[in-house]
């Protein structure tokens, strides 16, 4: 195992509030993420975890609060800008491109690395072809890394759930992100698949030094692989700290046991 050094704060969220119509999804939430760490967000259903990720990469725009990424504060992001800054993610309900093969799906992850324009693509010669093949090489590395070589040419729609999750991770990794947001990467998997996925997440973190923000239900997994944990409940932050600290917090225990507030 390589050595990973947890560095400075790369992402800081301050006093984020988000509402849909009258419904409050997130209220006044602040926390930060440090470089190279694995940061978990946990909480019961409807706690606002996915909304939190959606705020980080700009799918939702919070009504209040600021996001500081690599020192640059901004009020909300837009998804494309977030991607351009090196933030990649996977989704809770798999968001693969169902009409495309695994290879093409993963290749879309390289989109931001493309420097040639569509006219060059139409001619498919010289620079465009070289770039395409370079990207293919990179993508093949990711495919090897996630051990999905055998399904390269299969349309993603035909794959079992567990593999789809893995392809989605591959697509995110193909972008060579600095910050990776994983929304329940292990939901609905059996123990074996979960172990594989855990291994992949840790390997990504260690080999590439990617910072990871992760939503997960399985407390065992969270405690094993994360460096720090944020706990949300009803859109509020009720805990933040190392797994051990969080495990000991009364507020967290209450939330999980369903004690009324």
């Amino acid at each position: 195992m390589g050595e990973r050094r947890i560095g400075d704060v790369v992402l800081a969220l301050e006093r984020i509030s988000l509402a849909f119509g009258g419904v409050k999804a997130l209220t006044d939430i602040s926390f930060d993420v440090r470089e190279h760490e694995v940061r978990a967000i946990i909480g019961p259903n409807g706690a606002g975890k996915s909304s939190m990720l959606n705020v980080i990469n700009g799918v939702y725009r919070p009504q209040q609060g600021t996001i500081t990424y690599r020192g640059a504060p901004r009020h909300g992001m837009d998804p494309h800008a977030a991607a351009a800054l090196g933030i990649a993610r996977t989704f809770q309900n798999i968001a693969l491109f169902r009409g495309m093969t695994v290879l093409d799906n993963v290749m879309t992850g390289r989109n931001l690395k493309i420097r040639t324009n569509f006219l060059e693509h139409a001619i498919w010669w010289g620079r465009a072809r070289r770039e395409e093949l370079d990207n293919r090489r990179k993508v093949e590395e990711v495919i090897d890394f996630l051990e999905i070589q055998h399904i390269r040419k299969t349309p993603v729609g035909r794959l079992p759930y567990g593999l789809q999750k893995r392809v989605e991770l591959a697509r995110a990794l193909a972008a060579e992100p600095e910050l990776l947001l994983l929304d329940e990467p292990m939901a609905g998997m059996n123990v074996e698949e979960k172990q594989d996925m855990c291994r992949f997440v840790l390997d990504v973190n260690e080999q590439y030094g990617t910072t990871i923000v992760l939503i997960e239900h399985d407390m065992g997994v969270v405690m094993d692989i994360s460096d720090r944990v944020v706990v949300l409940d009803y859109g509020r932050k009720i805990g933040d700290g190392t797994p051990d600290e969080v495990r000991g917090s009364q507020a967290v225990i209450d939330a999980y046991l369903g004690v009324t507030h």
Binding site: A84, T108, R110, N111, H121, R129, E132
Partner: protein, 362 residues
């Protein structure tokens, strides 16, 4: 046993990324293109060239255009005919107002004009989806035709508003025989089909398909939605524009704005669906199907009438046969959609799978 890819290993990514990774496909395709260029003009008569092959090729080009937009990028449009009209009228005016402009430039610029107009009418796609967008593109369909009729500058102040395409010149040679018109059409279509194939297997095409399959996820991995959708509209309209110019120059010779009706837009959409969404090959198959089936129906009812006439001295009344043809055509479309909703391209795929296993059943 002939159609096997066994033993064809790809040693490089380049080899794996070819248009036709299977050797037999490559051979057949090259042979077909050579055949279309070298043999067809020599053996086909004027009817086949100027009334069947040229329109099939031109419609195939327009179908590729719409397929890029609808099949690949997932944006439904009913304005195809209008974009063709832009191409036709742009070509006419370029030829008229820029003396000595070479034909390839005219065609390319006609496409570019159409692309510009297409991108403008693609703007609503940034907010509107599905059928709402489809109906919104009808605004383009009706507005463009209206504008072309209304502003007589577009038709060089012709009192009837009809334009007559100038003669096509290429390298100082006039192209006016059906064979020459066929060859220039074929050349343009093959070139642009190849370009479309290239585009669709590159990151541009993948971005289109990503937007089609799930636009939120596409945005999240860094595909700019606005740029991608507008690019899809522009490229699609480029193809339609060039098709429109060829429609005027290589096929009809004269066109009026009203020739580019909603009906034509629908027909091209049929070609996309029947051929297979998201398939360049399907575009050709779909165009051939929609052009040839009514002709086939017409020929067969005439034939039937001939037989009836000679045997019974009685034939079907004209309106009956015409209406029957229309009904059978409508019925065939429904039947076809029910049997193979993924189009002729899928049938082709299935055929190939079968061929691969042949002579074994599984």
């Amino acid at each position: 046993m002939l159609y096997r890819e066994a033993g064809q290993f790809k040693a490089t990514y380049a080899a794996d990324q070819q248009i036709f990774p299977i050797r037999q496909d490559r051979i057949v395709m090259i042979a077909l293109v050579v055949f279309m260029f070298a043999v067809v003009p020599a053996v086909a008569d004027q009817y086949w060239l100027s009334a069947v092959l040229i329109p099939v090729l031109i419609f195939a080009l327009a179908t590729i255009g719409l397929n890029i937009l609808t099949g690949y990028a997932g944006q439904l449009s009913l304005g195809t005919a209008a974009f063709m009209a832009v191409g036709a009228f742009a070509a006419y005016n370029l030829d008229l107002r820029v003396p000595g402009i070479p034909l390839p430039v005219v065609l390319a610029l006609a496409g570019v004009f159409a692309a510009g107009v297409g991108a403008v009418f693609g703007l609503p796609s940034l907010r509107i989806k599905g059928f709402y967008l489809a109906v919104a593109t009808l605004a383009a369909q009706f507005f463009i035709v209206w504008a072309l009729v209304k502003f007589s500058w577009f038709s060089n102040d012709s009192s009837s508003g009809v334009i007559t395409a100038q003669k096509m010149h290429l390298f100082g040679k006039v192209l006016d025989t059906p064979a020459q018109k066929y060859l220039i059409t074929l050349a343009v279509v093959v070139l642009l089909a190849l370009a479309a194939k290239n585009l669709m297997r590159s990151s541009t095409g993948r971005a289109f398909m990503a937007v089609r399959d799930m636009d939120v996820a596409a945005a999240v991995i860094g595909i700019p939605l606005m740029r991608t959708k507008l690019l899809a509209f522009a490229i699609s309209s480029f193809y339609c524009g060039v098709a429109g110019a060829l429609y005027a120059y290589a096929y009809l010779g004269t066109v009026e704005p009203e020739g580019f009706t909603l009906d034509l837009s629908f027909r091209i959409l049929f070609m996309v669906i029947i051929g297979g969404m998201g398939s360049i090959l399907g575009s050709f198959l779909g165009a051939a199907f929609i052009v040839l089936v009514p002709i086939g129906l017409n020929v067969s009812t005439q034939w039937l009438n001939g037989v009836l006439q000679s045997m019974l001295h009685w034939s079907l009344p004209g309106s009956l046969t015409s209406n029957l043809e229309l009904m059978v055509f409508g019925g065939l479309i429904i039947f076809f959609l029910a049997v193979e909703p993924h189009g002729l391209a899928r049938l082709w795929q299935i055929g190939k799978e079968k061929l691969r296993l042949w002579p074994f059943p599984h």
